[in-house]
Structure formats: structure tokens, C-alpha cells
Symmetry: C2
Subunit: 344 residues, 2 copies
Amino acid sequence: MPPTLEEVAKLAGVSRSTVSRVVNQHPHVRPEVRERVWEVIRQTGYQPHAAARSLATRYTRVIGLIIPQAVTTLFTDPYFPVLMRGVADACNAHNYHLMLSLFSHRRVRDSYAGQDLLYRQLLRGRYLDGVVVSSAPLDDPIFPRLLEDNVPFVIVGRYPHERANYVDVDNVVGARMAVEHLLRLGHERIATITGPLNMFAAQDRLEGYRQALAARGIPLDERLIAEGDFAEQGGRTAMQRLLPHQPTAVFAASDMMAVGALKALREAGLRVPEDVAVVGFDDVPLASMVDPPLTTVRQPIEQLGSMAVELLISLLENPNTGGVHRVVLPTELVIRASCGVRVQ
Amino acid sequence: MPPTLEEVAKLAGVSRSTVSRVVNQHPHVRPEVRERVWEVIRQTGYQPHAAARSLATRYTRVIGLIIPQAVTTLFTDPYFPVLMRGVADACNAHNYHLMLSLFSHRRVRDSYAGQDLLYRQLLRGRYLDGVVVSSAPLDDPIFPRLLEDNVPFVIVGRYPHERANYVDVDNVVGARMAVEHLLRLGHERIATITGPLNMFAAQDRLEGYRQALAARGIPLDERLIAEGDFAEQGGRTAMQRLLPHQPTAVFAASDMMAVGALKALREAGLRVPEDVAVVGFDDVPLASMVDPPLTTVRQPIEQLGSMAVELLISLLENPNTGGVHRVVLPTELVIRASCGVRVQ
DNA sequence: CGGATTTTTGGGAGCGCTCCCAGTTAATTG
DNA sequence: CAATTAACTGGGAGCGCTCCCAAAAATCCG
């Protein structure tokens, strides 16, 4: 049974309140007393009881990371581990703890309803001070829940609501750069494999693709647009659907889908980049390991995670700082072999 | 301000205690009253305050997942996401929440000392009911801490202590199968790239390698053993160190290291499997995507995660069930192209 | 050096919940 | 139908902490 404040107080010959002051670094404690109390704390290994503390203060020093995405994508995609690292790092640095909620929809309980139940528990039950949400589809029930319960939150990505704080990457510009690069290489029949279009990132990357073509005066050919799911398998089947329309280049909205596309192309007996050029998005480690190495759009994933946390914490600690906070980070085109170098 | 028990009680015209009984499914509440209370709960969206509850019950319904590994490996290795999925799934299924602690050692605070401080906070501060630990080196400070503070825990892996519960994979047998396969293919100069030897899994896989050779009467050649770090880069440099001793086959203790080895071999102008056969361990998704696809030892990673959680929960809920709980799951050899098929 | 400050200190109240113990009310039984 | 017994219900105490307020001690100043 670990010691309580009261016990420490008795041992140090002071009152509960004084020990509390010492622990919480309040001023107005004689240095001599303060030292005596610290000594007892050290010896007893005293540690404040989190529940008691948060019952009294209404703060938990815990933030949640919610990743509601249906699973397939999630865990073959190296995106998430990296994001998590950014998030975890920032939490450690600020002495917050991290609660992770993943939903895989594979068990009955993980249904839409079960998920909503868990959200309620987590948010209304005051397990958390605030939340970082990543990769949620636009219609995910987490958003209304957060808004309704007035829980401070930051999205990694974007959400169309006046009270939504977010940290995002400039997906439109990133995608445009990628497609412009293909245009520069002389391609005109450029296809795209999009992410699931109920996600903003997917929509934005498609928009970038559109803009690049429009700027070049190339009319949009709907047959050159195939929707994928950000995962490899989806990229592969999307590519198969695109093949009959003979694109000479493909912009995939994620590296995993680009890898899938690579596979589909190889199966169809086409060479990359000679017959078809491929560009991805994300620059996950795998991108440089496949054959041929992928040209891709790098996004600062880890930084996204830590910035989200830092923004959230600043929201928590200065609640009055008015206004909505939005950060958009730039992307960078990384050129490798998969798009070839065609002379115009 | 969300409603409290007391408020719900007033609205339903009963006492605090009765509402508590309803919420906690205690018997001895008239069905009619029970229904009335539920109705109020539904209308108000009442949700018990977690901190208040755990202050009173001394339970939090939160379990921790602690991954103390120095980072490089961690997040390029698809092992962790999969493990996490297993862990998260099991938590969801049993209505527990998951607290994640990762340490990357990249900031000052993430030093050994900072880490220990966080452990104390987490464990002594009663944030958690119990803990799952994965990929901790044998000398990690988490173990003494857990033992000393008497926190229920389950290791994914293994730890030499009488009170250590764990869920592990049969690394020795898995490694032996891999090496035996190479032996069967006629190899005699078989090298191995081990994991960091302060981890049990690495030691066990090395032991399996030893056993396979010994059973065949092949003397151990220390020059054919190189220590890696489970990550790609480490596998690559380890392979470079092995090359001068001209192995005809290599058993890498992780797929990521096998991929690194592949790279080193290619750089050295050697063909796989014609010149050197390669076998990995883990069967991560990447294993089947590289060229040539890796022969490897599959371990049920996700199952490992969910079993660890389930074991932990059963420990928490039936504390008197004596004895230590240990589960060892089997592995499976997956044969692909990287080891070739040599006729003896 | 005595009153006015200012700094320290202690203790009560309360955060929202569970659990135990009586007190009520309803059901059973001979 | 009175006497038991069982099924419900309410309220106090307490989980360990913070915060406020007032009392006590130390410091100041003319």
C-alpha cells in the first residue's frame, strides 16, 4: 500500500496542505520545511494518486490518440507508427500520458455502435483532457461527439467545422507538384489512384491532380481516375481498372497504393518507368526499397504528430487563447527512378 | 457540465445508491425503478466519472502497453503496429482502455532516468491496473519497477523471474526450423545475423541456430555470427561483416535484417538465392514484397498481443488464481524464393 | 518596541463514486 | 393474519487530493 499525502505529512511533521504545496511547487513554504518534506517523499517513494488528483482538479494529464480507421490500411501502412512516434515523443516531453484508441471493426463490439459507446465512455467519463484524431473519415461519429461534449481536440488532417483545430500537410500542393513533374516529363495521359474519397486527404490530393492538369489545359478524363483505399491491395485493383485506358503515368495518393500499382503493372507485363511512370505520396521507408524506387511526395509525418500534441497542450493550458488554430505544413517532391527521366 | 450520480438520482426520484446499483447491474432493484433510472440516464447522457470511480474502487480499467525499445528498430518494423492491433482489439473486446508508453530516447527527457520517472508516475500513480510489456531488453528498468511495485504484468517475450507471466513464441524451435531447412538444402556454411543480444528473443533465435548446427554435427564458427539490431540498417552492416567469410546461406533473426542483408548482398554483386540463400524471421508483410520474396519464420504477432491482454485481464479479475502463467505459441516456416531449392 | 503587514501553516469542505449498514417495504408461511 | 424472512432503498463514511479561508508566526517600520 503506497503512502498517501497524509502519511507523508505525518512523517514530515507538517500538515497535508504543506506537503501538497511542496509537491505542486507552490511558493510560501519555508525552504527548510520544503527540504524536509522532499526527503520524506524520496524515502517513501510517494507519488500522488492520479485519480484522487484528477477528481479534485478536473484534469487528468492524459490525452487521447484516436484512430478510427477501418483496419486494413492502418497496419500495413508505415504511416501510423511514425505518427505515433511523433505523438508519443511530444507527450513524453510535456509529461502527459497517452491513451490510444484503435478500432478495427473486426469484432462485433467494434461496430459503429460499439465505437460510439467507447467514445462516450472515454470523453464523458473524463478519462482525457483532450484528443488528437487522425485518419478519421469525414463522417466518423467522433467529430459530433467531440463537438457536442466540448472536448478540446486537434485533428491530424482537416475537418470542415469552425471549431476544428488541425495540423495538416498541404495535400493539394503536394499532389500538384507530383503531377506537374509528370507533365514536365512529357506525360499527357496521367491517371490517378485516389484514396477513399470520404477522407479529406484523398479529396485534396485529387484536387491537386485536377489543378495540375487544368493549369496545363488538359481536360479531365474521368476514366483515368480510380478510387482506392490507401492500401496496397486497393492500389493494385485500381491500377487494373485503369489499364484498359492506357495511361502513360499514374499518380497514386499513397505509397502503399503505388506499390500495389507497381505489382499490377508488372503482372500486366508493363515496365516501370519505361511504359508507365509511377509517383506515390507519403515517402514511407518502403518507398525507397521497392523496385524501382518510388518517386513520391514526402510529408513530415512525425512532425505532424508532435505538432498536433503540442497544439493540443497549448490549447489545454491556455484555454482562453481565442480562435481556432490551424497549421499547414509543406511537402516535398522526392524524385527517384519510378517516374523515369524522359526528354521532352 | 455533465450530470453526476446525485443529479440523476434526483431526476429519477431515488437515491444516489439506487442509481449506482442500476449502473453497476446490482440485483435488488425493482424492475420498474430500474427502468425509470435507465430512462433518466439515457436522457441526460450520464456517464460515471472515471476518476471518482477509480478513487473509490481502486480500479481504473486501463491497462498499459509499454514499449521501451530504443527507437530505430521500432518504427520501421511492421512488427509493432500488428502487435498493437492485437492489443487494442483485445482491450476493446473487454472494455478496457489502453495507455501507450513509447520511449525514443531522442530527447533529454527520454533518458534512462526520465524513463524511470515516467514508470514511477504511471505505476505508483495508479493510472493503470496492469501492464503489457513488449520488446524490453533484459536490463530494462521497467522490470524491477513492476516487481517492486507489485503491478500485475504480462510480457510479450520472456523474462527470467519467477513472478514473470509471459506470452512468447517458440523462438528456439522457429530458428531451428529455419536453419534445418537450409541444411536440408545442402548448405553447410550457414551464417546468422542475430538481434541485439540483450534481448531474449535474439538469444533464443541464436540458440535455435546453434541447435540445428549441432544436431547435424557442424561445429560452430564464431566468424559466421554477427550481431545486428533487428533493423534493416543493422542487418546490412552485419551482412557486410559476414561476407569475407563466404557463407552460402544466412539466417537473419528478423525480416528487416534479412532485407538489409539482401541489400548488402546485391551491393556485393551476389545473387540471392543462387550465390547466397537468405532466411528471415517474423513474416511481416514486407517479406513477401521484396525481391526475391523472403523465406521466413512466421509468428502469430497479433495473437501474441491479444493473448497477452487476455491473460493480463484474467489475472486482474481473478487475482487469487495462483501460479505463474506462461504461454508459448508455435511458429511456422514459410518457404519463398530467397532460399532457393537446391538439389542435394 | 508595538501595531500593521506579509509569509507560512493547518484544517474543513468537497470533487463523484462505491460500499456497508440500517431501516422499509413486500412476500411467505404455519 | 401475525410473525418471519427476503427484497429493496437511503444515507453516512471514506477513497486521496486540492483549494480556500482563517489562524499563527515571522518581518517590517516609524
